[in-house]
């Protein structure tokens, strides 16, 4: 999978080189609920099921039973000023099934910190103010207390 050339041997340079593949796999949290032995990756669109299987087995020594892949269309968004539509690149998702009995759970990378009392009241105040502004949005000039 590597496209690097094996350089011409010069005296003193290492004779054995290992070139890692050009591709990478990104382990992601499953979007849909999956059985515990299914792991989801974002992979290069060029990689095939066999590539994914070999990549995991040969480099990481992970046993793989089967791989399903699908190509996901990139998201589109509109330019706020000009209004033209831009599309992100497509990507491939790989659903890798591990042998039965093996499980993988996506780790909690950023554990949630507990909110302090001050933050809570700050949030509450902001919410009430937003409600107040929203309520009076359509009646400019009317005093704030003019309501049921």
């Amino acid at each position: 999978m590597s496209t690097r050339w094996y350089p011409i041997y010069k005296r003193g340079s290492p004779q054995l080189r290992v070139f890692l593949p050009n591709f990478w796999l990104k382990l992601i949290r499953p979007v849909h609920k999956q059985p515990p032995n299914v792991v989801q990756f974002v992979v290069s669109v060029e990689m095939t099921k066999h590539d994914v299987k070999n990549y995991l087995e040969k480099i990481y020594n992970v046993p793989v039973v089967q791989v399903f892949t699908r190509i996901v269309s990139g998201e589109t968004r509109q330019d706020p000023g000009k209004g033209y539509v831009v599309k992100d690149d497509d990507y491939k998702l790989a659903y890798v099934t591990l042998p039965q009995g093996k499980t993988f759970e996506f780790p909690e990378l950023y554990p949630k910190e507990e909110e302090s009392e001050q933050d809570k009241t700050q949030k509450e105040l902001k919410k009430h103010f937003k409600n107040f502004v929203d309520r009076n949005k359509d009646r400019p000039g009317a005093p704030g207390w003019f309501s049921f």
Binding site: V31, H32, K33, Q34, P35, N37, V38, V65, Q66, F68, T76, Q78, G83, V85, K87, Y95, T97, P99, Q100
Partner: protein
């Protein structure tokens, strides 16, 4: 003023012509109905289920399930011989099957005295079967006809051996066992079966819609439709049913613990289909032999999935799905459906073989009510007994069978010698009419001909001439996701709030009748008889 006057007139009119007295001793209030979204949906579903239940003609029942969809229902396609990896829990959950034992068959055969009967018959049949196996090995076939693994799911030799063994056993035993004389043998029958299973996790797309509509049904499980499509090597059926292997009191003793599988079936790599759902147990309605005896299924595909380590579980998945699907379709032909549960148990015997290796299963259908909340609330469960993979013979050498295993043949003979009996005290077809059961019984010729034609057309599952309008990719980007073309006239279905795939089956112009063929001159279109 005019409204008030009209209302007064209406009241007077109703009073004058109403037959019922206006006042009663006790006030009669209409029932107070729960008007929540779930309750209304449940009531509407019940109305539909009752309509199916009350239809007298079997084919009308089968058609009615498809009536809400012109382009068919979206369903999960289960194909015989395609067993996804690690799917035993899934197969058990969607069929509500408890596997009693993976080692031996039920006590039924000992109790009925079949085991004792077997010994003299075995010697009588053995040699003919050996000869048949040798003969089939001598026939020259295409490369796919070999028993060895060749990457092909077709197993000509295995199929031929099954047909030969079946022929030998039936011809040599039918003189002593009349039920084999009167049974029907189907070769490669068309098995199609449809059922609904509840309790499946909602897909992400649906959750997104639920979040915006905010009806409080976020995370609620959904129903999934399953369509099984199978083609056994052969099947035997009879006019009378087999005796159940476990009676109700015994079933309650068996500590049923059906595993749960709430994931979307697509996580196993099974695809979705859009088709008219069908229930065909290998014959058309009206055939008299409509109870199962046994069926033979090819297990050749097992050799081609050697990369998987579930070789013990995979045959069970195959056997459970094949047995349930066949019994389910047969039960549908008796007037039951996925909405109306069977009132008596049905039993079948299933054989999985590639010609050399044989495994045997006995399956008892106690329930097929699995939709919506029944998936978790239904206390009944179906039962499956099975054996390990057994070798019938080692090889063929110099025109002789080497290492012939009589024990395997013995179990096969148990299946043939299991005699069906009259099921007394049970109404076998409670939801079908007494005199009018099938289309063929309808006295009106026009209706009979029309229904027969349209039932067969529906069940042929031909695609529609005009495919449903789709949302093109460019439209999704420039019209739906980003409203970049506001000036264009709105003519496409998604701009008019129409959903083409939700069109009803009868939502079409009836066929045109030529002037010369009309009975009433001004009636341009033919009469329809949809249920």
């Amino acid at each position: 003023m005019s409204v008030l006057r009209m209302r007064c007139h209406c009241v007077k009119f109703i009073r004058r012509f109403s037959v019922l007295p206006e006042y009663t001793e006790k006030p009669e209030y209409p029932p107070i109905l729960d008007l929540s979204r779930d309750a209304v949906k449940k009531r509407n579903d019940e109305v539909w289920h009752n309509k199916i239940k009350n239809l007298e003609i079997l084919e009308e029942k089968l058609m009615e399930v498809n009536m809400p969809r012109y382009y068919g229902w979206p369903c999960i396609g289960l194909y015989e011989g395609k067993v996804p990896y690690g799917s035993l829990q899934f197969a058990q959950y969607i069929t509500r099957t408890f596997i009693v034992t993976q080692q031996e068959l039920p006590m039924l055969y000992q109790a009925a005295g079949i085991v004792d009967l077997c010994a003299p018959i075995l010697d009588h049949v053995k040699n003919s079967i050996k000869e048949a196996i040798v003969l089939e090995h001598a026939v020259e076939r295409s490369p796919s006809g070999e028993l060895e693994d060749n990457g092909d799911d077709v197993n000509e030799l295995g199929d031929a051996i099954v047909h030969q063994i079946n022929r030998v056993i039936i011809s040599s035993l039918s003189a002593d066992f009349p039920h084999l004389q009167t049974c029907q043998v189907d070769h490669f029958p068309r098995i199609e079966s449809f059922w609904i299973v509840g309790g499946i996790d909602p897909p992400k797309r649906l959750e997104k819609i639920r979040k915006t509509s905010n009806n409080g049904d976020l995370g609620k499980p959904v129903d999934v439709k399953f369509q099984y499509l199978g083609r056994p090597i052969a099947q035997l059926r009879h006019e009378l049913p087999l005796q159940p292997a476990a009676i109700e009191s015994e079933i309650q003793k068996i500590e049923s613990n059906v595993p749960e599988f709430h994931y979307d079936p697509r996580v196993l790599g099974i695809d979705k289909l859009q088709r008219h759902v069908t229930n065909i147990p290998g014959f058309w309605p009206g055939d008299k032999s409509e109870f199962p005896l046994m069926s033979f299924h090819s297990s050749k595909y097992l050799a081609n999935r050697s990369s998987f380590d579930d070789s013990e579980a995979a045959p069970y998945v195959h056997a459970v799905l094949a047995s349930f699907a066949w019994l389910q379709a047969l039960a549908c032909y008796k007037g039951f459906s996925t909405f109306q549960d069977v009132t008596y148990p049905l039993l079948t015997q299933t054989v999985l073989t590639d010609g050399q290796y044989w495994s045997f299963y006995v399956y008892q259908l106690n329930t097929m009510l699995l939709h919506s909340s029944h998936a978790t609330e239904n206390q009944k469960c179906n039962l499956c007994w099975g054996t390990k993979k057994l070798k019938l013979f080692d090889k063929i050498e110099n025109g002789k069978v080497v290492g012939f295993n009589e024990e395997v043949l013995k179990i096969l003979l148990y299946f043939y010698l299991n005699v069906p009996h009259v099921r007394s005290g049970v109404e076998l077809k409670p939801y079908l009419g007494v005199n009018n059961r099938y289309i063929a019984d309808i006295p009106e010729k026009d209706k009979r001909v029309w229904l027969e034609k349209h039932f067969k057309h529906m069940y042929s599952n031909r695609p529609r001439k005009l495919l449903a309008d789709e949302l093109y990719h460019w439209e999704k980007i420039y019209k739906v996701d980003h409203k970049t073309r506001p000036q264009e006239p709105r003519r496409r279905p998604f701009e008019l709030g129409q959903v083409p795939l939700e069109r009803r089956y009868d939502d079409h112009t009836p066929a045109y009748v030529r002037k010369s063929e009309r009975t009433v001159k001004w009636k341009k279109f033919e009469k329809t008889y949809y249920p």
